[in-house]
């Protein structure tokens, strides 16, 4: 390839790479897929960045036209001539292929392998859980709570009383253990899926259904608490277990999630 072709291709690669990144970010935000990766606080930033990257791609394209910028000065010289990382096809491939492939291949959810590798937590530091009596009662006579609320309640005797014996409904991912119990897994996220901590709630059932691992599952049952080793853990005695479609919000968030209880945390 002669130098002119390399130069011309070099000028196309940068706007293309910027446009691709901008398109991926904007698409993930607009399609709602971003909910499987990031805390809600960060999502608008992704959208704004995506739009700005698309605008930047246009600006870079336009700035390559004659007379858009004055003759080279010291400061912008390397970018004016495309003498950046995009001097070759390999960096261009690194910039555009992995993000595109990951966007296509990603199932927007971690699988069972992560539970094995990362391990699960059955306790979490005390914060005030939602008070169950403040929740509306659903048609099947239960109150919808989260696994996080039960785990936080387990750390404090006063909160345990709020939940003990209550009929609750919760959702999580099914992870079979043996014929009499399984775990309901939820993912606690602070910033993004990389810092995810997997919380596992023990569910006792007389007949554990034959569901696939990590299938979204809804459990209705009664709450109790037990001390296992050093830890106070919640246990659900299941009455009804059903597989459900993936919810829009797959994570629970901490610690900035809104505090819904009217009681302070007890230490």
């Amino acid at each position: 390839m002669n130098a002119r072709i390399i130069d011309r291709v070099g000028h196309i690669l940068a706007p293309l790479a910027l446009a691709e990144w901008g398109a991926v970010l904007t698409y993930f935000y607009c399609s709602g897929r971003l909910a499987a990766y990031l805390h809600p606080y960060f999502r608008p930033l992704v959208f704004v960045t995506g739009i700005l990257l698309l605008v930047s791609a246009g600006c870079v394209w336009y700035s390559d036209t004659p007379h858009a910028l004055p003759a080279c000065d010291d400061t912008g010289c390397e970018t004016r001539h495309g003498k950046t990382i995009l001097g070759g096809l390999f960096p261009f491939a690194v910039l555009i292929l992995p993000i595109a492939l990951a966007a296509i291949l990603s199932p927007d959810s971690f699988g069972a392998g992560l539970v094995q590798n990362r391990g699960v937590r059955q306790t979490i530091a005390t914060e005030a859980p939602i008070a169950p009596d403040t929740l509306p009662v659903a048609r099947d006579d239960y109150r919808a709570v989260s696994i996080l609320d039960l785990m936080m309640a387990a750390q404090d005797p006063v909160f345990q009383q709020d939940f003990n014996g209550k009929r609750v409904g919760l959702i999580g991912k099914f992870f079979p253990k043996d014929t009499t119990h399984f775990e309901l897994i939820c993912t606690l996220v602070t910033c993004c899926a990389v810092d995810a901590q997997l919380l596992a709630l023990r569910v006792d059932a007389s007949n554990v259904p034959a569901l696939d691992k990590m299938v979204w599952t809804k459990v209705i049952g009664r709450v109790s608490f037990a001390k296992i080793g050093e830890d106070n853990v919640p246990i659900i005695a299941a009455e009804k277990i059903t597989a459900i479609p993936s919810p829009q919000e797959q994570f629970v968030y901490g610690p900035s999630r809104p505090r819904k209880s009217n009681r302070p945390a007890h230490h």
């Binding site: 790479a17 993930f28 930033l45 000065d73 291949l105 990603s106 590798n117 900035s256």
Partner: protein, 325 residues
């Protein structure tokens, strides 16, 4: 126990998460870089620094309090600032300190360690982050620039990369006007529209430069984040030195954002406090993606020994602190 199980789907989720979390902050960093390049004259960078090198380096270490940046965003900023005449020692101090010595990280650390002496953990993390950055800045201040900066940084006009020492000695000799003329870029006259276009262009190319290394770093970090069995490191928790070393290596491999890493550190309940502190101080200063991104500014021959020196320094400080406690 199988300590390594790779799964492409988990990998792709982790990889995209790192990108989605890091890209907006990296873009903010490159935008600042572009604006600095197009609108800020070189002498502005150095005009407000104290003349005393120690004071200048210390001030750079505290800049994160006013200008908080995460580790992804800070790299393009300091790259441009060095080109604009900011002494390398000050830039390096800001680079290391800003992801830790900032209010957002202080608050998140406090929140993560609720019930585990949060105020003490937060102050020790911020204090040690500042101390380590200061020590590194002072050490780098004594090194020749050719040993630190990469070829690309060195090939831009050498007048912009004066070391703090030479800048100060020139100033002390009452050579302010000649110094200003040396640092002046003397750019071609541009209209405001052209300056904006130039800033966007500069920011875009910086974004692609840094993005290239972010992609490589994020890919490696995602492999370790999803494929390595965490229980493999649990036996190391029994020994303070081993625990501290292994937690620093883990911090490097996981490449977590400094605003969220405290929550992960707090979850390692079996590990001693020194190891958690080392995890929270070392991670934001040196992780896999940063190792690649630092390549945009520093020589490989500097980056690798520097990473090792940071590892030893932070490890020794954390272990020393745990003995003191």
């Amino acid at each position: 126990m199988n300590w390594f199980t790779f799964n492409l789907q988990d990998f792709s989720v982790a990889f995209l998460s790192i990108l989605f979390e890091g890209v907006p902050f990296m873009f903010i960093g490159t935008l600042i870089s572009g604006i600095v390049d197009a609108f800020v004259p070189s002498e502005t960078m150095t005009k407000y620094l104290p003349r005393n090198p120690i004071a200048a380096i210390a001030l750079s270490g505290l800049l994160g309090v006013c200008f908080p940046m995460c580790e992804c965003g800070v790299v393009p900023v300091i790259r441009r600032m060095i080109r604009k005449g900011l002494p390398v020692s000050c830039a390096l101090t800001y680079l290391l300190a800003a992801p830790i010595v900032n209010p957002i990280v202080a608050i998140s650390t406090f929140a993560a360690f609720r019930g585990q002496h949060p105020a003490m953990v937060m102050s020790m993390r911020v204090g040690m982050g500042f101390a380590v950055a200061l020590i590194c800045g002072l050490l780098v201040h004594r090194l020749p620039l050719a040993n630190i900066l990469n070829k690309q940084m060195l090939s831009s006009p050498s007048k912009r990369r004066m070391s703090l020492g030479s800048r100060l000695s020139s100033s002390r000799q009452g050579n302010e006007s000649s110094l200003a003329s040396l640092l002046d870029d003397a750019p071609a006259k541009k209209s405001f529209r052209q300056k904006v276009l130039s800033a966007v262009r500069c920011a875009s190319f910086d974004f692609l430069d840094v993005g290239f290394y972010l992609v490589i770093g994020a890919a490696i970090a995602s492999i370790f984040n999803t494929a390595v069995h965490r229980d493999a490191i649990l036996p190391l928790a029994q020994n303070s030195a081993l625990a501290t070393g292994s937690m620093m290596i883990l911090a490097m491999l996981l490449s977590l954002c400094s605003t969220s890493d405290a929550f992960i550190a707090a979850s390692f309940t079996t590990f001693p406090f020194a190891a958690k502190l080392a995890f929270m101080v070392f991670g934001p200063m040196m992780d896999v993606k940063l190792l690649f991104m630092y390549g945009l500014v520093f020589r490989k021959r500097f980056t690798l020994p520097f990473a090792l020196a940071l590892f030893l320094l932070i490890g020794a400080l954390c272990l020393g602190l745990s003995c003191f406690r």
